[in-house]
Symmetry: C2
DNA sequence: CGAATAGTGTCTATCAGACAGTATGAA
DNA sequence: TTCATACTGTCTGATAGACACTATTCG
């Protein structure tokens, strides 16, 4: 990490190795001796609206990829903020949330992307972040002309109507109540590239983010980050079904959640109403203290194709072997 | 991500929004309109030597942190290589391996670190990588004066004798055959910062890498990356015991490994000799085709402290909430 | 031979999933 | 009253872990 390497930096002070005073070294130090490139953060912010998984996107106002959708993000303020801080700042700017609501958002680093040519203008490394948010008010955009909107994730992965327009949320048939909320990508777990025209390499970042999200709610209680402070087990099941894209057995899910220590804790109260067409009032729960689920809530096994190769979080490859399609 | 943001870039061509020709846009484009910072890759390369987990480190030849150990790494060649390629290149340079051996190394991205002040010279973002390697020949160093060596991970996490010297592998009591190889950090899963003086924020990177490694071998067959092409079940168990730091039940482990489809496949041959002090010749196996283990080989449950909070891979936090000690 | 080791059989507690059953409350 | 719904009971198959046992081979 950093610049501890014998190349440019240390060789610049090569004959100077006896200088024990690091302060003096740093005072005489020339930061421009290092190669530099642009560093940005990009946020894959997910939320549930009307039982369907949505992602926060912005519309590009200028080239390249003018008119296409892109992940919200921006430059890291070098030397002034950490990567985590930059991501939190960008998310706040883009959503227009106040501190109270942002408090409930889960934000974690997803990975970095730096292929040459991923931005046609110049070399850029982006550090992608993944955010889980409860249902938020409409995005306000960054304050200038660019539009920010919550877009159904299904529109990104369902190939079809993506081509025609890609207008903000309001301009398309909102899947507000489209029956059960599950069905992100039909359930097959092989990550497909997004088909709605996303700028840059954002399709891959989104695909990686969804993989991570699907895996993360297996062994952490982060599914609760999509819900209000108090929620019912049925609502929690809806989160899993929306993100995994497949229905779960109501009874078994209920018992399983209650059996995992620290996952949820009862509030003692019940929902104001029963189900839409009758039924008892569901009990309300809060998120528990556990940071990890033991035992985990494993996804229903994907229809495995002999040699399993379903979910995987994080890119990986064999070094210098053109294995698995990654050129080295 | 990238530089799709309304700040410097797009505003530089603000009145120009009718310019549909992206080629023309890019020709007239000034890359220096973007803020830039240094980007490096750092490698946490792990291997097993004599039943103990080792990490590849280099000794710093100049300030800052002169004389301290650091992770091998270097600058990303902006625009010329991907992050993965940069990591593979640095690993090859540092280990002096030829392509044939590098072929067997597993390399994956770990995460990025960019706190302000992590390098006293200037702002640097590093993209950390995690590598699993079979027992490799002695590191050769980068070709110049800096020393590169495989250091027992126990020396980093065991507080004690770390202070006194931190010489390369040969200069200290080699734990070549120190009984069973398990015992990285005594078994408690709370990640402690490394105590051998590592430069920069490398202690945290190493801690994150070990967490990732311990989790990764649970649900992937990557433990085989630490072994030769053909191996016995007992050797495979040694990998798990060394990385998890606790002994496993030999019989149950044996049956479990063979029951996971695609984990290992028999070669039909047996080892040349039986155990050191007698016993049948063990059968030899190759790595199978599976990329994920189904079901997974879960770690023995850590002695949980009521509200479990053991293993966790990947940094995470609540936005703008000073929760979990991460300052925002 | 004696002892250590590779590998297997068996028992038990736990867990996931299927199914059925009960009580509640909106229409 | 009807019927969808929240929640619980029970059974079955799979799995993890503990223990015992056999067979092999080095010293």
């Amino acid at each position: 990490m950093t610049a501890h390497h014998r190349r440019s930096a240390d060789s610049a002070t090569a004959g100077d190795s006896a200088a024990r005073d690091e302060a003096a070294f740093l005072a005489a130090y020339d930061p421009h001796a290092f190669p530099a490139m642009a560093v940005t953060v990009d946020i894959v912010a997910l939320t549930l609206r009307g039982g369907a998984l949505h992602i926060l996107l912005v519309e590009r106002g200028g080239p390249p990829f003018q008119g296409a959708w892109a992940l919200p993000g921006g430059f890291v303020r070098a030397g002034q903020e950490s990567l985590d801080e930059a991501a939190a700042r960008e998310l706040a700017e883009e959503t227009g949330l106040d501190a109270a609501l942002l408090e409930r958002v889960h934000l974690e680093q997803l990975g970095s992307y730096g292929d040459p040519g991923r931005d046609p203008r110049m070399p850029v490394v982006t550090v992608a972040y993944l955010a889980f948010a409860p249902d938020l008010p409409e995005a306000r955009g960054g304050g200038d002309a660019s539009a920010a909107a919550w877009v159904p994730v299904a529109d990104l992965e369902s190939g079809a109507e993506a081509e025609r327009g890609a207008e903000p949320d309001a301009a398309r048939p909102r899947p507000q109540e489209q029956g059960p909320g599950y069905g992100i990508d039909g359930g097959d777990s092989v990550p497909r590239p997004a088909s709605l025209p996303l700028a840059f390499d954002h399709p891959r970042i989104v695909a990686d983010a969804l993989d991570r999200a699907r895996a993360k709610i297996e062994y952490t209680p982060l599914a609760t980050a999509f819900l209000a402070e108090e929620f019912t087990i049925v609502e929690l099941r809806g989160v899993y079904e929306s993100i995994w894209g497949s229905p779960l057995h109501a009874g078994n899910f209920h018992r399983k959640v209650l059996s995992v220590p620290g996952f949820v804790e009862p509030t003692g109260t019940t929902a104001a109403r029963g189900g839409a067409r009758g039924g008892p009032r569901a009990r309300l729960y809060r998120a528990g203290a556990a940071r990890l689920l033991h035992p985990a809530l494993l996804r229903p096994a994907a229809p495995q194709s002999a040699t399993s190769e379903p979910r995987d979080t994080g890119k990986s490859k064999k070094v210098s072997g053109n294995v698995s399609g990654v050129k080295v």
